[in-house]
């Protein structure tokens, strides 16, 4: 029986660099490895000994495309440690900021990174030749997200307005109102985009994964709630590390995550969020989900782009509601006294749940930091799904099989830069 090895050196159209190794014995898939090399946890080490106020600023530097997520997880964790309760106004504005990041991330990913796979293009550039209106639409949606993060975050490239306790400054009503016309256009564009992707032809793949996301009884999850699983479990954030455990794997320096209760990997991200929280999507997003007949529990990872579309619609609709409202600028942030303590938070980055835990001392210094990004947690489940997928595509010519594997990895929109060094793809056939 011959051994085959297929190598894809570099995954394209994913954040960061990465690769995939697949080894087959004849037609039997022996091994699938997402070979992600995680650098030393530099940021956690960097944070030790620093003032707790540095956490949102330093962690925002971890990722160039989801800085808001890192800031949200860090400030909520610190506020828990300090016993700070934010006002409903601050709470709402933090959701608005997160809407900006989701719009930016989902808009770009759907149009320029993932859609080309379904339309037979090698890249967003190649697609732009035949679909310039769609690409321009995606870029305009991304721009809106940037504008919102710029306004409320203080800077698009590295938000500086978020602080423990709230914001350094709340923009005026006039500043918020200026975004309304663009966001009204954007809501319609998001609906149009979701209808567009719902019409793509999707490969069949059924994942038996466990879906996991934050969940809140009153709203679509972003900053608060408990961890919900598709098997019906609810896990308090304070028990996150007890239930969602990182473990070493022999083939990679990247840590994999499994549920302690089941011993199995799990999936975070838009597909999980929509599957677990569909009834709390905004009215337009819910109506659209029914219109396009998006299945109640979608188990095909390729269709995650539709879930992103529904979240795009939700983000625009929620953002519009908040932008149009009156906002008090009198108390942009809560005051606090230092106290020793431990705080934890899980918030929903575009790619899934981002967990932060901090221990602080009585002088307000960080003693210990633990950051678990969503892509790290998804790696094990991505490998499981890839193994099933490889079995379906392996009879194809090698370069096509490798490309189809890449396509599946892109469905998860992995943010490899958050947690990895680089990734190469190798498929060994024997």
């Amino acid at each position: 029986m011959t051994e085959r090895k297929i190598k894809v050196e570099t995954l394209t159209r994913v954040e960061g660099e990465g690769g995939l190794y697949v080894r087959l014995q004849g037609e039997q898939v022996e091994e699938v490895r997402l070979e992600i090399y995680e650098p030393p946890r530099l940021f956690e080490a960097l944070l030790r000994g620093r003032p707790l106020e540095d956490a949102p600023d330093i962690t925002a530097r971890i990722c160039g495309i989801c800085p808001v997520a890192y800031q949200m997880s860090s400030v909520h964790a610190m506020e828990m440690a300090l016993g700070v309760e934010i006002t409903p106004e601050i709470r709402r504005l933090r959701r608005l900021l997160y809407c900006g990041e989701w719009i930016e991330s989902h808009g770009l990913h759907m149009h320029l990174l993932h859609a080309p796979d379904f339309l037979g293009f090698e890249s967003g550039l190649a697609m732009a030749k035949q679909f310039p209106d769609e690409v321009n639409r995606g870029l305009r949606l991304k721009k809106h997200g940037n504008q919102l993060v710029d306004l409320l975050g203080g800077r698009a490239i590295h938000p500086v307005n978020v602080c423990v306790g709230g914001f350094y400054r709340i923009p005026s009503r006039n500043e918020f109102q200026k975004l309304v016309p663009d966001f009204e256009w954007g809501l319609n564009a998001a609906i149009e985009t979701t209808r567009w992707v719902a019409g793509f032809e999707y490969p069949e793949l059924e994942s038996d994964c466990e879906f996991v996301s934050l969940s809140h009884p009153d709203e679509y999850p972003m900053n608060e709630g408990v961890m919900q699983t598709s098997s019906g479990d609810q896990i308090e954030i304070s028990n996150y590390r007890d239930e969602f455990q990182e473990q070493q794997v022999p083939h990679s320096t990247a840590l994999h995550a499994i549920r302690k209760t089941t011993g199995r990997p799990y999936l975070l991200g838009p597909l999980s969020r929509v599957n677990l929280n569909r009834d709390r999507l905004s009215p337009s997003a819910r109506k659209l989900a029914d219109e396009i007949a998006f299945e109640p529990e979608c188990r095909n990872p390729h269709r995650a782009i539709i879930a992103r579309g529904l979240e795009l619609v939700h983000s625009y609709e929620e953002a519009l509601q908040i932008l149009r409202d009156e906002h008090s600028t009198k108390q942009p942030r809560m005051t606090y006294e230092y106290q020793a303590g431990v705080g934890m938070s899980a918030t929903e980055a575009p790619r899934g749940t981002l967990f932060h835990r901090y221990e602080i001392d009585a002088e307000g210094k960080i003693v210990e930091a633990d950051i678990i990004p969503p892509t790290s947690q998804n790696q094990a489940q991505i490998e499981v799904d890839l193994k099933a997928w490889v079995g379906q595509v392996i009879e194809k010519e090698e370069s096509q099989a490798a490309r189809l594997c890449e396509n599946l990895v892109r469905a998860y929109d992995p943010c490899i830069s958050c947690s990895t060094h680089f990734l190469n793809v190798t498929i060994e056939r024997s």
């Binding site: 570099t10 995954l11 394209t12 159209r13 994913v14 954040e15 960061g16 660099e17 530099l42 940021f43 960097l46 330093i58 530097r61 971890i62 160039g64 495309i65 770009l108 990913h109 320029l112 990174l113 890249s123 967003g124 550039l125 732009a128 030749k129 310039p132 690409v135 321009n136 870029l139 991304k142 721009k143 940037n146 698009a156 490239i157 590295h158 830069s417």
Partner: protein
């Protein structure tokens, strides 16, 4: 048609170590008070597509790898395939050459695009910019200033 009265200047980079090179060049140019500069700092190359105006020349400043010793300064004028020989940062593999190609395809790219790269090695989060790259930043700034008025004085191409 390109308007020579203003120049768009983009610094690409991140707050990490030598990857700050692009931002540092732009900050230094701002301190020099160059006339008619429209300045942007971006974390990712695709940010250019948020604000790029085809009416004005574009100068891009970024860190790069693969073109020579650390701190060395390179200049390219678009279009050029030489950019593909260099490693650029960029999220989602939409690196700088891809973004410029996309902008051209969408009719957003100015006629004149100049790219300045400062050679770096590894970027360590939290690190300060190295002395070699700082020196390269200074050299890039001098070179950009020398050709600034030349770019601004280019004749407008009337259709």
């Amino acid at each position: 048609m390109t308007d020579s009265r203003q120049i768009q200047v983009a610094g690409l980079g991140s707050p990490h170590g030598d990857d700050q090179a692009g931002w540092e060049i732009v900050r230094a140019l701002e301190k020099r008070g160059l006339s008619q500069a429209i300045v942007h700092l971006s974390r990712t190359p695709d940010d250019l597509l948020n604000w790029l105006d085809p009416a004005y020349p574009l100068v891009i400043c970024d860190a790069c790898r693969g073109g020579g010793p650390v701190g060395s300064v390179h200049r390219w004028q678009w279009p050029t395939t030489e950019l593909d020989q260099v490693n650029w940062s960029g999220t989602h593999q939409i690196a700088l050459p891809g973004v410029l190609s996309l902008a051209a395809e969408l009719g957003q790219l100015p006629e004149l695009v100049i790219i300045w790269g400062v050679e770096i090695s590894e970027t360590i989060p939290g690190d300060a910019i190295s002395s070699e790259v700082s020196a390269g930043v200074e050299r890039a700034v001098e070179s950009i200033c020398r050709e600034w008025d030349v770019i601004r004085s280019l004749e407008v191409d009337h259709a």
